[in-house]
Amino acid sequence: MIRLSGVQKSFGENHVLRGVDLEVGRGESCVVIGGSGTGKSVVLKCILGLVTPDAGTIEVDGQDVTRVSRDPFLARFGMLFQGAALFDSLPVWQNVGFRLLRGEKARPRREARDIAIEKLRRVGLGPEVADRYPAELSGGMQKRVGLARAIAADPEIIFFDEPTTGLDPIMAGVINELIREIVTELGVTAVTITHDMTSVRSIADRVAMLHGGKIRWTGPVSEIDSAGDPYLDQFVQGRAEGPIETLR
C-alpha cells in the first residue's frame, strides 16, 4: 500500500536519506527503528509531502504521492508528531477535533466535542483536560493528546513518531496496546517510529531498520533476535560496542 523506492533527501551538505526502499502492506504495522538523527522522521514527512524528496518515488495504493489531489490524500492519514505539535492557541478538545470542525465533512461543534472526549478517553485522558490548553499539560499528556488527534477522524493510515518517548512505562504500555488495538481491530495501516524495544515487540508486524540513509534490515518482528545482522543486533540489544559508531 505504501511503497518508497530510492528516496533521497539532503539538507544542504547533510545527506540524510540515500536511497530508502520500504514497503508497507495494507493493515500492516511496520515499525521503523534507527539511531536518532538517522532520518526516520524525514521518511514520514516525505510520504506526507511535508518534505519533498530529491530523488526516488513514493506511492500510496500505486499512485505517486506528488500527483494526487492533496486534500483527499491527506484525509486518509493521521499523524502523531514527535513533539506532539499541538496548536497552543486552541484548547485540547479543539486540537483533537481539529479535522472534525473544518472542511467539507465538518460536524457540529457539540458532536465534534463528544468525539474528541471519546478519543481522549481512549488515550487515557479524562474529560477534564478537554478545556485546558496544551501548554498546561505535561509532555506525556501532550503526546497522548497528539495521539488522540491522530486517530480522531478514523484515518486509514496512521504514522506514530516516537509515541512512547517521554511516557512512564505503564502509560507506554497503554499506548502500545492502543496502537496494536487500532491496527488489529480497525485494520489501520500503521508506521511507527520508536527507540523502545518493548514497543517494537508489542506493536510491530514488521520491523525496518534505518541506518546510513538506507533501510539496513527489514523483516518480521519474530526474526529480529535471530537475524544475524550486526547492526540490528547492536541496536536491539542496546550495546555500545558494535558496527554503529557512537560518539563519546
Binding site: L48, G49, L50, F77, G83, F87, D88, F98
Partner: protein
Amino acid sequence: MLRAVAGLGRLTLSLVAEIGRMLIFTLEVLSHLVRPPFYPREFGQAVLAVGWQSLPVVGLTALFTGGALALQIYAGGARFSAEELVPQIVAVGMVRELGPVLVGLMIAARVTSSIAAEIATMKVTEQIDALVTLSTHPMKYLTLPRVLAAMLTVPVLVAVGDVIGIFGGYVVGTWRLGFNPAGYLKNTVDFLETLDIVSSLAKGAAFGLLAALAGCYFGMRSSRGAQGVGRATKSAVVAASVLILAANFILTEVFFSA
C-alpha cells in the same frame, strides 16, 4: 577595497532576492483571498489582536506626540511670529504624516513581532506541518486572516490616532499656549481637506498590509530552534519598519507631489 565592493554586491543581491521572495509570498497570500475555505473565526481573533488590543498604545502615542507637536510648532513659529498656526499645522502634521507613521511603527513593534514569533514558533514546533496534515492550508488559516485584519483595522487605528493626536495638540494649545478652544477646533476642521484624510487612511491600509505580511513571511521562513524564532522576529520588525517608512515616502509622493 575590492572585497568591500564584492560584499556590498552580495548584500544587494540577497536583498533583491529577499524582496522578490516577499513579493511572491504577497501574491500567494492575495491569491487565497478568492479561494475558499475561509476562516472567519481566525479573522475575528486577528481583528481583536491587531485592532482592539492596539488601541491603548496607539492612543497614548498619538496623545503625547500631538501635545509635543503643538509645543514645538508654537516655539518654532514664534520666531516668525507664526505661532497662531499651531492648530492647522498640528492637524496636517498628524493626519498626513505622524498619525499613519507612528501607528504603522507601533503596529510593527506590537503586531509584526507577535505574528512573527507566533508563526515561527509554530513552524519550529511542527505545528505548521501538523496543520498541513490536517488538510488546512497555513496560508489560508494563519496568514490571510492576519493580513486581512491588519489591512482593515490599521486604517481605523490611524483614524483614531489622528483624532487623539489632534486632541493632544488641542489640550496643550488651549491649556498651555492660551488658544481659544472654539477657535482651535474651527481652524483644525477648516484647514483639513478630504485628500488629507484619504491619504491618512490609505497609508494605514498599506502599513497594516506590510506589517502583517512581514510578520507572516519571516515567521514562515524561520529556521529551527529558539534562535530561529528570535531571528525571525527581529528580521520581521526591522523589515516592517523600513518597508513602512519607504512606503510612506512613496505614498506621500503619490498623494501630495502635484
